[in-house]
């Protein structure tokens, strides 16, 4: 339900002040902190809406401390959120329950409105949380953090190579696509996409030989089956304080909401 696709490349890279305290936090702290906010928000029913406010406040504080402007956040979510909301906006018409109001042929249901509100708030918090992680942490250090958090090493390594070659291969694909279009290719329905399949196979074969060449280049520099690591991570006091702070604020709101 979203439209990443060719806009992918615009969404990467740090934003804000790269020297800020937030940027310098251990990636594990940021992963745990931001994803906790999302998990807490998502698991909260709409009735406890102050929890959402609390989560948004935490994210806003985080962004301010990292000097990530609202514009930078918007730039990262603008291809995702509008589509999410576009889908969610149909919910009040199809999800029945509670009161209902008729607008000509359409009927809006109260239960549907509630779902719309909850879904929108949760999707907003989740998307902005992930965007803030990306704005304050390079993807390679996110991966280092995940690896330190016992993510299977093989998955981390695949992700690292994928990320490195994403740009190369997406650009290749873009050029091939341009070459197709340049020769007047304009499919009008799903049956006319055979040329894209040819393109996909050419991409696969090129990518496969790329993989072999990269492997050769690694062997040539003494690769013996284990990726060496340059930067050990250090989880310090600032990191602990950050995680504890985020959890304290959001969890207490969540518990207060549940017991209220």
């Amino acid at each position: 339900m979203s439209g990443l696709c060719s806009h992918a490349l615009e969404l990467t890279g740090l934003a804000g002040d790269p020297g800020s305290r937030v940027h310098r936090l251990d990636p594990r702290a940021k992963i745990v902190g931001l994803f906790s906010v999302t998990i807490i928000a998502v698991s909260t029913p709409l009735a406890h809406w102050p929890v959402y406010v609390c989560c948004v406040a935490v994210l806003a504080t985080y962004a301010a401390a990292a000097r990530v402007s609202p514009r930078a956040v918007w730039r990262r979510v603008r291809f995702i959120l509008p589509l999410v909301l576009l889908v969610a906006v149909f919910v009040p018409f199809v999800r029945s329950g509670g009161d209902s109001w008729a607008f000509g042929p359409l009927t809006i249901h109260q239960a549907g409105l509630e779902v719309l509100g909850a879904v929108s708030a949760k999707a907003l918090i989740g998307t902005v949380g992930a965007a803030l992680l990306g704005a304050t942490t390079t993807f390679p250090s996110v991966l280092r953090g995940l690896e330190a958090m016992r993510m299977p090493r093989l998955l981390v390594l695949i992700a690292a190579f994928m990320y490195r070659y994403l740009f190369v291969i997406v650009e290749e694909a873009g050029r091939m696509r341009a070459a197709l279009v340049s020769r007047g290719y304009a499919p009008r329905n799903a049956l006319q996409v055979g040329a894209m399949g040819r393109m996909a196979s050419a991409m696969f074969l090129r990518t496969y030989s790329r993989g072999e060449r990269v492997y050769h280049a690694m062997l040539a520099r003494g690769y013996n089956g284990t990726m060496p690591q340059l930067h050990p991570l250090a989880f310090g006091r600032a990191d602990a304080v950050f995680v504890a702070g985020v959890l304290a604020v959001t969890l207490s709101a969540r518990i207060a909401g549940a017991t209220a």
């Binding site: 070459a179 340049s182 304009a186 393109m199 050419a202 074969l205």
Partner: protein, 258 residues
């Protein structure tokens, strides 16, 4: 007859970046062969992408008699042939025949006419003998020439070539040059290979920082050491410009008009 390329105040900005084209004014007449020179990042590729509407910028741009805009794209792409730098980006059908037929088929031509165009285009680049081979079995020089054929088969008014001599060994480069010299189309050639420009084109345009900073007879531009140096261009050490014969300008309906 109008000129083939007519740009006035053409500007383009990649989202979130500086302007890549900052007001390009350019006329290319029928039958001209123009070398488009400039350092990396000068905007050469961006300008090229505008010529067949892969990008649409601000300002006026008319190519091959058509105003470049969304509604003219189909017609435009039949009139402007773009040969990309890496033939592997352009050739991905199972056989050379299907690759060369791809453009004419998209134009809606009859099968027979398409076959005719395939044969004709391949023979013009001296590649008729590989018609049933797979592109990946060909050498880089052969692939480059087949890539040119894929575009010639659409019978374009303007041929745009991006770095045609990149990654060619000296002999393949020579053969390519010989083929290009026999093709009587208006040509715009983006290249870092200044000797190629000197041999193939009678006019050179230097692009730098999204603007045209030099435009004139190729030999004059390439002899202007200061101009070249100012834009990170240089002839290879030991290259003697005067030793390259200026190619006579091919007389392909070179009538000038507005």
């Amino acid at each position: 007859m109008t000129c083939v390329v007519h740009a006035r105040g053409l500007r383009y900005r990649y989202p979130g970046h500086e302007e890549a084209l900052r007001g390009i004014d350019l006329r290319v007449e029928h039958g001209e062969r123009v070398a488009l020179l400039g350092p990396n990042g000068a905007g050469k590729t961006t300008l090229m992408m505008h010529l067949n509407g892969l990008m649409i910028g601000d300002g006026e741009l008319e190519v091959a008699g058509l105003r470049v805009a969304k509604d003219t794209l189909t017609a435009l792409r039949a009139r402007v042939g773009v040969v990309f730098q890496d033939p592997d980006d352009q050739l991905f059908m199972p056989t050379v025949r299907e690759d060369v037929a791809f453009g004419p088929l998209n134009m809606g031509l009859e099968r027979e006419a398409v076959q005719h165009r395939v044969a004709d285009a391949l023979s013009r680049v001296r590649m008729a003998h590989v018609v049933d081979r797979a592109p990946y079995q060909l050498s880089m020089g052969e692939r480059r020439r087949v890539a040119i054929a894929t575009v010639l088969a659409m019978d374009p008014t303007l041929l745009v070539l991006d770095e045609p001599s990149a990654n060619l060994d000296p002999r393949a480069r020579r053969e390519l040059l010989e083929v290009l010299e026999t093709i009587d189309r208006t040509m715009l050639v983006t290249t870092h290979d200044l000797p190629l420009a000197a041999e193939l084109c009678e006019r050179a345009v230097i692009l730098a920082g999204g603007r045209i900073v030099g435009d004139g007879p190729c030999h004059e531009i390439l002899a202007d050491d200061e101009l070249l140096a100012a834009h990170d261009l240089e002839l290879p050490a030991g290259f003697d410009l005067s030793a390259v014969a200026t190619r006579s300008r091919p007389a392909v309906g070179a009538q000038h008009g507005t």
